[in-house]
């Protein structure tokens, strides 16, 4: 096995293992910190795919932004609420969990079906990438490419996302604002 393969399997094991811990543990705060390991492992996988910009963006947005926000919510909500959440009954299978189990099972069947029928090796875009010479090298900069594509092929999605973010910002500012006369 080459070094790249070894690294891929190590990183994949880290991602899957930590994700499993996140989903299964009862200690919610620890599961959030474990989620950080998952995100870091994913960033490592992106680097392995030569998508360094995506990897770093992943860390900036998810670790620096989303995770910290979730933690804030936890720390503001207090210990009593958390303990209440952690005191669920321990049985894995119970009548209350039937819909969730059913949904998860069906979704699993769909996923397996998709994986079986996809024929990943002969997909059009995979073939296109395979035949695309010159291959990107480890030292190539991907930033220019992303920038040019965002401003040409993907301009409309880019602009609509920025409008969406603008709406969220205005909404947040409106919610946080003081009512007139109640200072």
């Amino acid at each position: 096995m080459s070094l790249v393969q070894v690294m891929f399997y190590v990183l994949a094991a880290v991602v899957v293992g930590s994700a499993f811990f996140v989903a299964s543990t009862k200690n919610l705060v620890r599961s959030i910190f474990m989620f950080f390991i998952t995100l870091l492992g994913l960033a490592g996988l992106y680097v392995l795919c030569l998508a360094d910009f995506v990897a770093v963006t992943q860390i900036v947005i998810y670790v620096g932004g989303v995770l910290v926000l979730i933690l804030f919510a936890f720390m503001l909500s207090g210990k009593e609420n958390l303990e209440l959440l952690q005191k669920q009954d321990n049985k894995f299978i119970s009548l209350g969990k039937l819909p969730a189990l059913l949904l998860a099972g069906l979704f699993f069947i769909v996923m397996v079906n998709v994986l079986g029928k996809a024929d990943v090796d002969n997909l059009q875009w995979v073939q296109m990438t395979k035949n695309f010479m010159p291959f990107p090298k480890a030292n190539d900069s991907t930033v220019e490419n992303i920038g040019v594509n965002l401003m040409t092929f993907y301009l409309l999605p880019f602009e609509s996302i920025s409008i969406l973010l603008m709406m969220a910002l205005i909404g947040a500012a409106h919610l946080a604002r003081k009512e007139r006369g109640t200072i």
Binding site: R30, F36, F53, G64, S141, T142
Partner: protein
């Protein structure tokens, strides 16, 4: 001086050749050696940084500072660290043990990883990454997570208050700092720190203009530094410097560890080696943010002396050894200013802190970014 330069250059090139010749395991050994070397540097810097800070604060407050251990008290911090290593590791009974033990490690490693992308001299950089600046920004943001972990894991109300204040402050000040950095990137057109450094001196691959009109490609020196290539970057530099003080939790932005109200903030419960790690992280962070400031605004490893006719000061003082000398000198200068500010200015209140960030620094940073775009299009 030129002879000395050549000597250093030949030594480094021999070292690189040796590293290249030794394939396989030895190749990776070099990486380990570099990582260990950086760690040793950070540790030694912290020891003498603490000493320098104590002496400087003593000077500012008209005291003597440490005088007993060694000549002028030089070995005071060495004695301190010996004491810290011997101390007992106390874990509070109510603490979340895993998080409590992990937190100082994460705080330190986040800062230490940032050092990987910092260039020290022409051709001398631990990891040459295309998006070095963005990487450093991302890695530093992990520190917030470590601080929150410390606050939650300690299970102490002072710790958690300190952690929340610290995280709120770091997240807010990342915005003006980020936009100040973007205005540099727009001028430089790259996020590779080594390229940004090279652009600010005589080794520049493109034409360098002083204030946008005077061609100084072959003159170099202080005239080709980023803050003089585009003078609005002076404002961006001040914004970045203020924000970097807040990001390393130093006075006047030290409400996360305000002694008079929060004991010691998020590191209230840490003892012994763990406390030492948190301290190491703080000083490493000071060095890191100062060095990033130097690289982006103050000419990185380039000399401040320009070529004047036949007196080619810039050409003589550019090279590997000179590069390390200049960048360390400039960084130490910025750190000295950080310490000076800490012992002179009073602490900001929370509302003043947020006002400064959102109503002053952020709009100014946006303005800098706008000017950068216009400058790049019309004047460069």
């Amino acid at each position: 001086m030129v002879g000395f330069n050549n000597l250093i250059n030949s030594i480094t090139s021999k070292f690189i050749k040796f590293a290249a010749k030794a394939n396989g395991l030895n190749f990776y050994t070099t990486y380990f050696l570099i990582a260990i070397g950086l760690f040793v540097f950070v540790a030694v810097f912290t020891l003498f940084g603490v000493y320098a800070e104590r002496k400087l604060s003593a000077f500012i407050q008209d005291r003597l500072g440490p005088t007993e251990v060694g000549k002028y008290g030089m070995f005071q911090t060495l004695a301190d660290i010996m004491k810290l290593i011997q101390k007992e590791l106390i874990i509070p009974a109510a603490a979340d043990k895993v998080l409590f033990l992990m937190a100082p490690l994460i705080i330190f490693v986040a800062v230490y990883l940032g050092f990987a992308a910092l260039p020290w001299a022409p051709e001398l950089v631990p990891a040459k990454i295309n998006i070095g600046l963005y990487y450093i920004l991302a890695i530093i943001s992990i520190e917030t997570l470590g601080i929150l972990m410390a606050g939650w894991g300690s299970n102490n109300k002072y710790s958690i208050l300190g952690a929340m204040r610290s995280a709120a402050q770091i997240i807010s000040y990342e915005i003006p700092a980020g936009f100040a950095l973007i205005s540099v990137v727009m001028i430089a057109q790259t996020m590779d720190l080594q390229l940004i450094s090279a652009q600010q001196g005589i080794l520049s691959p493109e034409k360098t203009k002083f204030l946008g009109f005077l061609d100084v490609s072959n003159t170099g020196g202080i005239l080709s530094w980023n803050i003089f290539r585009a003078p609005h970057l002076i404002i961006a530099f001040v914004i970045y410097f203020i924000a970097s003080l807040a990001e390393s939790n130093r006075a006047p932005f030290d409400i996360p560890e305000a002694e008079s109200e929060l004991v010691a903030g998020f590191h209230t419960e840490f003892t012994g080696l763990q406390f030492a790690l948190v301290f190491l992280a703080e000083y490493a962070m000071m060095f890191l943010v100062s060095m990033v400031g130097v690289i982006l605004f103050l000419g990185a490893w380039n000399t401040p002396l320009p070529n004047i006719g036949s007196v080619a000061l810039a050409t003589w003082t550019t090279g590997t050894a000179w590069g390390i000398f200049w960048i360390v000198l400039k960084t130490f200068g910025l750190i000295a200013v950080q310490m000076w500010i800490r012992w002179t200015l009073p602490r900001l209140r929370v509302d003043q802190l947020m006002n400064l960030c959102w109503k002053v620094l952020t709009p100014l940073a946006f303005l800098c970014m706008l000017i950068s775009g216009i400058w790049r299009l019309w004047l460069m």
